[in-house]
């Protein structure tokens, strides 16, 4: 009996997922049937269904992971993405190393979110929950249909392969192992605001009653997407060996577009919570953000755009995803046009400057940024459709067009927190921002004097970052001093009290701080990078960016499932040795590079070792200033969100 079970474990998983598909139909139909048959109890069956779907999906996922861990090469997907010698971690993460498994992970995460929503909803919004779960179930059905009928990870390969094809070596990296699940947590997380928006339009649920409920979901999804994007950049930086972390590749843009609109959504939720405005706009943003998540999945999974993430796929799957996405977008935006628009007179806003006005500008800017990214990403496709020309739109377009808008975003980040809601007293605003503006101006001048040859981005960027940092400090100081005066306390402990007390506000400020730190890292590494390509023999010394390094030859060895050639570069004046590697993975016959990096707060010395040419190695050397600030800024952002979310909520029933 035991042998029987272990032989057919994968079929068991397949069956579980198929059952989940059937149950999702039940979950999707429950509220409508309940209405038809006038048996409200039926609606609740959707809740139970969502729990069971998660259990079934987990069984499916577990059998696949099990097949990877025991290297069961009679499973086609395992045989094409794993190998006996693959380290255990990558055997597990190989689950999402290919098309079929990635989609499965998407659906699995979606079922988990749905269950969490059901648990929350049973307490807080039991009446609307069945409709919410129905929307989620319809989304899940779309993905399960694709998994079960067009890209089945449970498919057998009989007779089994002797050895696996191995995981794409580029993906055998901790950054890459966790990049896809984080992105998916973000993409899928945005399905919750989407489901709320749909439910609101279907059941005439006043936006004001649920907007507070989606704030945490949105923040969580946004954070996961942020981490996912940062991990992708970190991986590109360490693994791809071209000295950069962001290339405006179409697939990177695919994840960046929902991030931009998600950022807009977070801010517009805040406005609506405080001022009960922007209801129509919030519905639109919630729908659009999730639509862009679907678009991101489509772009990555259909192979429509040429990209470093060149995933091969067959056109049937692409067509399916396109049709699924089309259905979701037509239904959701159609519903929006029919029922989503609120009478605009109720949202009248005075035209004078106020914090809500600046929030609206924030939303305009992020939407414009998103449109510009989309334009650059799809432009090659449009041009090809019109006249057959093949072009790529690269970093020059995106940098030139987007960075000025990002500067405006940073400017707002300094002005808006100092501006009160409703109406501003301009002289008071000046008293808050005058000094920071002076500091920003001085910083820009210093930057200009230090290097007048640099791009104008350098001193404008530096000036803006200094301005916002100063404005933030002035704001902290002002609040702390007021609190200290009231309580006869000292300023530092008053500030800590405020930070502990008002977690939402200060959490948000920490996120802003993290963005500024990232901006500093990007100004440094983007504009002041030094780069050399040289041929080096043993004993040669290279001088770059004030650092001297001596080449001490190479070592060759075999490890796990690859062969490595490792260069030894001694950083003179220290006992640090940089060890860039070139690896060869025999099963996939693919080479990869591992850059050798010495990092400190000021700069990264970044070496890549290349081919042997006439007894000398070609060496690509970079000095990248301030790169570590980018990763550090990422940690500050995550901390800030965590801080903001740690505020106890006063739960309201809707």
């Amino acid at each position: 009996m035991q042998g029987f079970i272990s032989n057919y474990l994968v079929e068991f998983g397949h069956l579980a997922v198929f059952t989940a598909f059937i149950l999702s139909i039940v979950q999707a139909a429950a509220p409508w049937l309940a209405g038809r048959l006038e048996t409200p109890a039926l609606a609740r069956s959707g809740i139970m269904a969502s729990y069971i779907v998660l259990i079934l999906m987990t069984i499916g996922g577990a059998t696949l992971i099990h097949a990877f861990v025991i290297s069961d090469f009679t499973v086609l997907y395992v045989a094409s993405h794993s190998n006996v010698e693959l380290p255990l971690l990558y055997k597990v993460t190989a689950l999402w190393g290919g098309h079929e498994g990635s989609l499965f992970l998407w659906a699995w995460i979606l079922s988990a979110f749905t269950t969490l929503l059901a648990i929350q909803g049973k307490r807080l919004f039991p009446k609307r929950l069945p409709v919410l779960l129905s929307v989620q179930a319809l989304l899940l059905l779309g993905f399960l249909g694709l998994i079960l009928f067009l890209s089945n990870p449970f498919e057998r390969l009989l007779p089994g392969a002797v050895a696996g094809r191995d995981l794409n070596p580029l993906l055998q990296d901790p950054g890459m192992a966790f990049h896809p699940p984080m992105l998916y947590l973000g993409y899928v997380g945005f399905s919750i605001p989407f489901a709320f928006a749909m439910t609101a339009m279907l059941t005439r649920w006043e936006t004001t009653l649920w907007i507070g409920l989606i704030r945490r979901w949105t923040l969580f999804a946004w954070t996961m997407l942020t981490i996912g994007i940062m991990l992708g950049g970190w991986w590109a930086y360490y693994e791809l060996g071209w000295g950069g972390y962001w290339a405006w590749d179409p697939v990177e843009n695919a994840s960046f577009m929902p991030w931009l609109l998600g950022t807009a959504l977070i801010h517009s939720i805040t406005v609506q919570e405080n001022r009960r405005m922007l209801q129509t706009w919030n519905l639109f943003l919630a729908i659009s953000t999730f639509s862009l998540s679907l678009l991101g999945t489509f772009l990555v999974r259909s192979g429509v755009l040429s990209s470093v993430h060149a995933f091969a796929v067959d056109p049937g799957r692409g067509l399916y995803i396109l049709m699924f996405m089309g259905t979701v977008l037509v239904v959701s935006f159609g519903l929006f046009l029919a029922k989503g628009r609120v009478d605009p007179q109720r949202e009248a806003m005075s035209s004078s400057m106020s914090r809500e006005m600046l929030f609206v500008m924030n939303n305009v800017l992020f939407s414009v940024l998103c449109v510009l990214v989309m334009l650059g990403t799809l432009y090659p496709l449009a041009l090809e459709a019109i006249n057959g020309a093949k072009i790529t739109v690269g970093a020059p377009y995106f940098n030139a067009v987007l960075i000025p808008f990002f500067f405006l975003v940073i400017l707002l980040m300094g002005v808006a927190p100092a501006t009160p809601w409703r109406n501003v007293n301009l002289s008071r605003l000046w008293s808050r921002l005058g000094m920071p503006m002076g500091i920003g101006f001085i910083a820009a001048v210093i930057m200009f004097v230090w290097d007048s040859q640099a791009h104008w981005f350098a001193f404008v960027g530096t000036g803006l970052v200094a301005f916002v940092l100063a404005a933030m400090l002035v704001d902290f100081y002002r609040n702390a001093r007021r609190r200290a005066k009231q309580n006869n306390d000292n300023i530092v402990s008053a500030w800590f009290y405020l930070v502990k007390r008002n977690r939402r506000y200060y959490g948000g400020m920490f996120v802003h701080l993290g963005i500024l730190v990232i901006a500093i890292g990007m100004i440094g590494s983007g504009l002041f990078r030094q780069e050399q390509v040289v041929l080096m023999a043993k004993g040669d010394v290279i001088e770059i960016g004030g650092e001297k390094l001596r080449f001490d030859g190479v070592k060759q060895f075999k490890k796990d499932n690859y062969f490595a050639l490792q260069g030894q570069f001694a950083l003179l004046g220290t006992d640090i040795v940089l060890k860039p590697e070139r690896r060869k993975y025999p099963v996939q016959e693919a080479p990869t590079t591992e850059s050798g990096i010495h990092a400190n707060w000021a700069r990264d010395v970044y070496f890549v070792i290349g081919e042997l040419v006439d007894g000398r190695y070609s060496v690509h050397a970079y000095v990248n200033p301030l790169v570590q600030w980018i990763w550090f800024g990422g940690f500050i952002i995550v901390f800030g969100i965590g801080w903001s979310l740690s505020q106890r909520i006063r739960e309201k029933r809707a």
């Binding site: 259909s302 429509v304 605009p344 496709l381 449009a382």
Partner: protein, 171 residues
């Protein structure tokens, strides 16, 4: 003001039109700069040591296929070439460049899978490949009677591509 939301409709239509178009085209298909240029005349030896000249062969439209015994994808397309040579017979010349391959391996390969080619130019050093800008095997050039390259496919050939290429050559 509220009517402005209808702008969503054309945006969606354009978006789906584009993506649908994208599905039908292959982003990796890069038209070769060689198309419209004359095929270079290259002299060398075939697998049996006979002198051969790449270019227009026997005054007929010529298909030049680049293959190697170490290339797995070439195995996939081999049947397409065999079918093509049967179908078009002596209306075209089908020749090959055997790219960076050992003589013995190449001959064994043709014995095993069948030989659709008039001859295979033996390009051990990759000299002809360099001149033609070959960057991956298999590749196929379609050359018309005037010696102009009318199409180049940098992937395993399909039957449809073969017929389309022949049609272009005879234009």
């Amino acid at each position: 003001m509220n009517k402005i939301w209808w702008a969503i409709v054309p945006v969606l239509v354009i978006l789906f039109g584009l993506l649908g178009y994208g599905l039908t085209s292959n982003p990796k298909h890069i038209p070769s700069p060689l198309i419209g240029k004359p095929f270079p005349v290259i002299e060398g030896k075939d697998l049996n040591g006979n002198k051969v000249t790449l270019g227009v062969v026997n005054g007929k439209p010529t298909v030049v296929n680049v293959w190697a015994s170490w290339c797995a994808a070439c195995r996939l397309e081999h049947n397409v070439l065999i079918r093509g040579s049967r179908r078009y017979g002596d209306k075209i010349s089908l020749v090959a460049i055997n790219y960076k391959d050992e003589l013995a391996d190449a001959k064994a390969w043709l014995r095993q899978l069948g030989n659709p080619y008039l001859w295979s130019f033996h390009d051990l050093a990759g000299r002809a490949g360099l001149e033609l800008g070959v960057y991956g095997v298999p590749e196929t050039f379609f050359v018309n009677k005037q010696g102009i390259i009318v199409e180049k496919i940098s992937a395993p050939l399909t039957d449809a591509q073969f017929s389309a290429g022949v049609a272009l050559m005879s234009k």
